[in-house]
Amino acid sequence: MSDDLSNLENDILREIGNIGAGNATTSMASLMNKEINMEVPYVHLLTINEIMDIVGGPEEIIVTTFFKVEGDITGTVYFLLSLEEATSIVREMLKDDTIEINVLEELDEMVMSVLKEVANIVVGAYISALADFTKINIQTTVPFLSIDMAAATLVTGLIEFSRESDHAILIGSEFSGQEVKKHAQSHFLLVPDFDSIPTLFRALGVHADE
């Protein structure tokens, strides 16, 4: 496929992101029993270095949970949380306002499993909305969790991908359960492998490679 997306393709991918992230945000709000604000979804074709800028640069410390996508389409889905957002989630889930989230090595087993479980539920909602909308078979692996510099954690989910391309298509949306917006934001991020993009379009009745 070409490096550029047509307007139509762009709109379709944005709608896919909208549906997935919309459902994920709803599920997160009901899980947390609070309002979660979702921004307008975006679709970007970016280099691996440009991807880091989305979360505030390569050294920004973020809570990264990712799942490999399997089935009729393949790729990676990320649930990225700022430290503030992750802290607020864990405090809410464990009803303990003293919990601080730091780097992974110092992370309590319980805190880690809460973060993974929330990711499971929320990303599960994202993927099932996507599967319903496209009527294709989409599954995910177990979650992989890390807390560290963005470049160090995000790259792992893109290793397979990087063998094929220096660019990736990011279908994302920012969300926040915080009242005050911070520099590093939280994102849902779907990065389909290039081979899977035509499958997505076909499933929605659009033929991209005419």
Partner: protein, 167 residues
């Protein structure tokens, strides 16, 4: 770090490679499973830094291989460029950092083992080219940002939880 305006800090991205000469320094941020390879000549105060993602270019499925992404092609490029700049191969030394497992306890897939594979490959390639590794900080479970000073040969490594070390 205090720096006069004439001293620049050259930044190397992911799957990227650059060179630096004293008094300037060179940095790459957020090495996870990736490995930062510094090859330098202290007598000429020149260094090259590559931030590689994958151990070998045979893994590439691309028509045009990105030289800077793979350990073998990046090291070959570093050596070729430095020699073209008149540096003797026998003066060259290396320092390396990175190759972490950012998602520990999840070694089910080959992808999760990419850090150790990158280290093995870089070490083997440097040995094959007779470039001694003066010091290294590899493995573990933490991301690293590194800065190299070609004047002193010092490689400064910063992690999120362990602060700064110099090797």
């Amino acid at each position: 770090m205090q720096m006069s305006s004439r001293e620049k800090l050259v930044t190397v991205g992911i799957a990227d490679l650059k060179f630096v000469e004293s008094p300037h320094t060179i940095r790459t941020s957020g090495l996870g499973s990736c490995v930062g390879i510094v090859i330098y000549d202290l007598s000429k105060q020149i260094a090259g830094l590559a931030h590689i993602m994958l151990p070998d270019s045979s893994l590439s499925k691309q028509a045009n291989i990105n030289t800077y992404k793979y350990a073998d092609t990046a090291i070959a490029y570093l050596l070729r460029y430095l020699q073209a700049r008149g540096v003797s191969r026998f003066q060259l030394k290396a320092k390396i950092a990175g190759g972490a497992q950012m998602f520990p306890n999840q070694l089910t897939s080959e992808v999760m083992r990419i850090g150790p594979r990158n280290i093995e490959s870089v070490e083997a390639l440097l040995k094959k080219n007779n470039i001694p590794i003066v010091s290294s900080d590899v493995g573990g479970n933490s991301g690293r940002t590194i800065v190299f000073n070609p004047q002193t040969g010092a490689l400064t490594i910063r992690t999120v939880n362990k602060g700064e070390t110099v090797i």
